[in-house]
């Protein structure tokens, strides 16, 4: 395991012996990983998933400013994985830490952590309709740790870098490409430790998909944020140095 983020499959016994803190699992104790997962186990309640879907990950690390493409078949649990990392679903067991902060610790305010440390890029962007491009960034900044005095400059600077020439236009008036850029800017505006991108190219043609991924990678690197892209698009595989198969991460549950 190294601090560039390598999938590490530990035995259950090793995980249980380890103290409940990800830094002790990481060899690079001085710089906590942007994302560190240990002995993660999650099942949907039977009423939500009739097939008894079960996700289990022994260990996963992603260092700050690194990137990883997680691929897998549709319905394989990629989105579930991202929702767990975002703290939107609660695991049955195990831990997820964002920059060393345990996401599911009783003392952790998950909403604050999500606003301050995580950025999101969605397939359909999920920009706030009725708000301008700049306002979409400002809304994200409302929930961040960045001082209010810096909000305008920060959002204007990012929008400019991403080539948004009409920051005050309502997002629904922008082209799809521009909306994609606003979504990328929003994911980075709070200086997150980790950007989660769920099928960011699924609604784009190959050329725009290539541009979008290039922008995402470029700006995550520039902002020092780790990038975790989840996709079933095989054309993205050659673009990433680190590619993980979800199936390799998971232990097949008894029900599968």
């Amino acid at each position: 395991m190294n601090n560039e983020g390598i999938l590490s499959v530990c035995t259950c016994a090793e995980v249980r012996k380890a103290p409940y803190h990800v830094r002790l699992m990481s060899p690079a104790a001085s710089a906590p990983s942007a994302l560190s997962i240990r002995a993660l186990s999650f099942s949907y309640p039977a009423r939500e998933r009739a097939n008894g879907f079960h996700l289990s990950i022994e260990a996963f690390d992603l260092a700050r400013a690194s990137e990883c493409l997680l691929v897998g078949r549709s319905g394989g649990g990629k989105s579930t994985f991202l929702q767990l990392v975002a703290g939107l679903l609660e695991p049955s067991h195990g831990s997820i830490a964002i920059e060393g902060v345990e996401l599911f610790a009783p003392t952790t305010n998950r909403d604050l952590l999500r606003g301050a440390k995580l950025g999101f890029v969605f397939q359909t962007f999920n920009l706030l309709q009725g708000f301008s491009a700049a306002e979409n960034l400002l809304v994200a900044l409302m929930f961040s740790a960045i001082p209010k005095a810096d909000w305008q400059a920060r959002s204007a600077s990012l929008l400019e870098k991403l080539g948004i020439d009409a920051p005050n236009a309502r997002v629904e008036e922008l082209s799809v490409g521009q909306q994609q850029r606003v979504a990328i800017a929003r994911s980075l505006v709070c200086r997150p430790a980790l950007v989660l991108a769920d099928e960011p190219t699924a609604s784009l043609d190959p050329e725009n998909a290539r541009i979008a991924i290039a922008l995402l990678r470029e700006h995550c690197a520039a902002e020092g944020a780790a990038l975790l892209v989840v996709s079933h698009d095989p054309s993205l595989v050659p673009l990433f140095a680190r590619v993980e198969q979800l199936a390799d991460l998971t232990r097949e549950g008894a029900t599968r």
Binding site: N109, D111, G130
Partner: protein, 430 residues
């Protein structure tokens, strides 16, 4: 960017339903405020019309009827007071003034009050507001008539115009021609000349005409003499005691300078009340009693207005709940950006409260406009000056009530927002 900006943007996104819902709140809040204002203003208008007389004496059946007939010209009094009784009452106390009146004739449906000069010089139609003339003067002798402001306006009569009076209430006050059934005979033998037109007082007196008592007695003496077969015009010397009918007395006790209240009023009132041959009324008290009677109806109107306000809150609830389907994704995005459940709950609740507040504010404005229109109409058609003062306390209470009801209505959509599953709304994430 603040939570409030998010609230405003969200309302703007649902502009049509926001405006319609706010208008519903405005209508109901305005209705409630108007009813409250007109109720107190209506009472004030009636109190205004009762003038500066402390007591009113007549032979009516009850004090309230005496006031309605004697001061508001509802109907001619049922029977006259005897001359002896009038003299007795006059001598009973050191009155500040005693104004004798007689009602019974009319002109085109407007009542004619026969009275003395003191009616104009001592009696004030509105407390601290003596009579004023817009044209001419008060009557100086017989067969002269003074017009109330509304009568002059509606009949078009001018100074010097000649008119004859009708015995009885004559025709309808609103329509020129009477049916034979209700038409009294006209005193065609005696023409009255318009010698004065009064300024508007905002009281029922504006819809009356005024002549001297002796003029009225002459008209009725003529009728008596006709029945007796005596022809020719009546002169004052022909009047008998039975012709000199008085149907009412307006009385005022001496007061201290600057005060309108007499310390002896209750004692005098009690003394007069013991006399069962007359009815004595304190006009202000009777107005209070009248409004106590009609307050039940007021209560029904107010209850209806409150019910309308509640139904507008239900409209807020329905509008917001209906919009939740399309808003859940927005709420999920806010949550994923870091908004807590409580914060999302607060944003949705604030939206509801803002609709309530905007509606209530608009309702206060609508109420002010409606009251000014109603005031003008009532003044033009009834001659009553209704002055619905802006009641800041009632407005604040109604606005606070509207906001509170809106907040209660907003609890349901806010709870739905609170319980929105981000994972479900964003599944698949994107």
């Amino acid at each position: 960017m603040t939570d409030f900006t998010i609230v405003l943007r969200s309302l703007r996104l649902r502009f049509f339903s926001t405006v319609v819902t706010a208008l519903l709140v405005a209508t109901s809040a305005g209705l409630l405020l108007s009813i409250l204002a007109l109720r107190s203003a209506g009472k004030a208008a009636f109190e205004r019309g009762s003038g500066n007389a402390h007591l009113l004496v007549s032979a009516d059946q009850s004090p309230l009827v005496a006031v309605l007939n004697g001061l508001f010209y509802a109907n001619p009094p049922r029977a006259p007071l005897s001359r002896a009784k009038v003299a007795e009452i006059r001598s009973l106390f050191p009155w500040e003034f005693v104004v004798e009146t007689q009602l019974g004739d009319s002109y085109r449906g407007f009542p004619v009050l026969a009275t003395t000069r003191e009616f104009f010089t001592r009696f004030e139609p509105v407390v601290a507001q003596p009579w004023a003339l817009s044209q001419g003067g008060f009557f100086e002798g017989n067969m002269q008539i003074v017009l109330g402001a509304a009568v002059a306006r509606e009949t078009g009569l001018r100074l010097g115009a000649k008119l004859v009076l009708t015995h009885g209430s004559g025709d309808s006050r609103e329509h020129g021609e009477a049916t034979n059934e209700h038409r009294g005979h006209e005193h065609r033998e005696y023409e009255f000349e318009v010698v004065g037109i009064l300024d508007a007082t905002g009281s029922p007196h504006d819809r009356a005409l005024f002549i001297s008592l002796e003029s009225s007695w002459i008209l009725h003496a003529h009728d008596r003499r006709e029945r007796e077969g005596v022809e020719g015009k009546v002169v004052p010397a022909d009047l008998l005691d039975e012709d000199r009918k008085i149907t009412g007395m307006l009385l005022r006790l001496p007061t201290r300078s600057g005060s309108s209240v007499s310390g002896a009023l209750q004692q005098v009132f009690d003394t007069l009340r013991r006399d069962t041959s007359i009815t004595v009324a304190q006009p202000a008290d009777q107005i209070d009693k009248l409004f106590a009677i009609v307050s039940n109806i007021d209560g029904i109107f107010i209850a209806l207005a409150v019910a309308t306000l509640c139904s507008s809150a239900v409209a807020i609830l329905l509008s917001m709940v209906n919009s939740m389907a399309e808003r859940r994704r927005q709420i999920a995005v806010l949550r994923v950006l870091g908004a807590s459940r409580a914060r999302v709950f607060g944003i949705v609740l604030t939206e509801a409260m803002l609709i309530g507040f905007a509606g209530a504010t608009l309702g206060i404005l609508l109420s002010a406009i409606a009251m000014s229109v109603a005031t003008a109409w009532i003044r033009a058609s009834l001659g009553l000056i209704i002055s619905p003062d802006f009641d800041a306390r009632a407005s604040i209470l109604v606005a606070a009530g509207a906001v509170l009801l809106a907040a209660l209505a907003g609890l349901v959509p806010a709870t739905l927002a609170y319980r929105t599953s981000v994972a479900k709304q964003l599944r698949p994430l994107g």
